[in-house]
């Protein structure tokens, strides 16, 4: 579940596994700081979310130097995004492009909207659990998810309009 939570954020298997490792190491290191105000699982998912958001921030900073990386021949991180399996190379390419577009649109969302939306898309998270992870209320989570959907929709529409 922790790996899958991280995977939703980073879209990359290796990164998700690395992040999950970091999450468990952090849990091991600071288990004595756990105050039992929430469920242990909620606390762990909160760490997973914060680690994933940190990773996305680092990746965003890296992307700023992507042009420089291209010059010196280092792979672009966007290349490592896993695309759904297809036999047709054109479909693979289209899916890869869609993943990149989606990731860019998600990156433009505020952290709380992104988190609420991505967790809502994952099986096993109720709005109450998302509210516990984000330390907010259920109506606030519903509002965050609604706004995230709306923002994503408009950003994607804008993207495809400009590309047509």
């Amino acid at each position: 579940m922790v790996v899958n939570t991280c995977y939703r954020f980073v879209f990359n298997r290796e990164d998700a596994e690395d992040l999950a490792q970091e999450v468990f190491v952090e849990v091991y290191r600071s288990i004595d700081k756990f105050r039992e105000e929430s469920k242990l699982s909620t606390w762990i998912y909160r760490i997973a979310v914060s680690k994933s958001l940190d990773h996305l921030r680092r990746q965003k900073r890296k992307k700023r130097f992507s042009s420089l990386k291209r010059i010196i021949g280092v792979d672009d991180p966007a290349d490592s995004i896993a695309a759904p399996d297809h036999d047709n190379p054109a479909d693979v390419l289209a899916d890869k492009e869609r993943v990149a577009v989606l990731q860019e649109a998600l990156d433009s969302l505020p952290d709380n909207q992104k988190t609420a939306f991505l967790l809502s898309k994952q099986d096993g998270y109720s709005n109450q659990e998302i509210a516990d992870i984000l330390q907010t209320t259920v109506p606030a989570v519903e509002s965050l998810i609604h706004r995230a959907k709306k923002n994503l929709q408009s950003r994607l529409e804008r993207h495809y309009r400009s590309n047509n």
Partner: protein, 116 residues
């Protein structure tokens, strides 16, 4: 126009569906082994840190410092005092010897005769 809007909406829908179609990951079979390895190395680092930080006792360090200062001051004292005291003792010894054995009764020859 309508066609392009439809196409665009279809693209948006396909893009958003990626999240719904994301496969559920099964972790690598070595995930647990790697994790235990990381935790072990972390524990070892922590033990070393505790050995350094926990072994440091301010009281003991202060006592050590005092001992060093004591030894250093004692050494300084003796290094300065010893040559003087040796000179003093030796000059005193020479004086007492000359007094004891310098009398005319014990001399091998008569000084006044020699002067003559």
């Amino acid at each position: 126009m309508n066609r392009s809007t439809e196409q665009r909406n279809a693209e948006v829908e396909k893009t958003l569906r990626i999240l719904d179609d994301m496969p559920r990951l099964e972790v690598h079979h070595l995930f647990r082994a790697h994790l235990m390895q990381r935790i072990d190395s972390l524990e070892r680092t922590n033990t070393l840190a505790v050995a350094f930080a926990g072994g440091f006792n301010p009281r003991l360090a202060f006592m050590g410092l005092l001992l060093i200062l004591n030894i250093a001051s004692a050494m300084l004292f003796f290094l300065h005092e010893t040559p003087q005291s040796t000179v003093g003792v030796s000059s005193g010894l020479a004086e007492s010897l000359s007094e004891d054995y310098g009398g005319p009764a014990l001399s091998y020859y008569d000084q006044s005769a020699a002067d003559r």
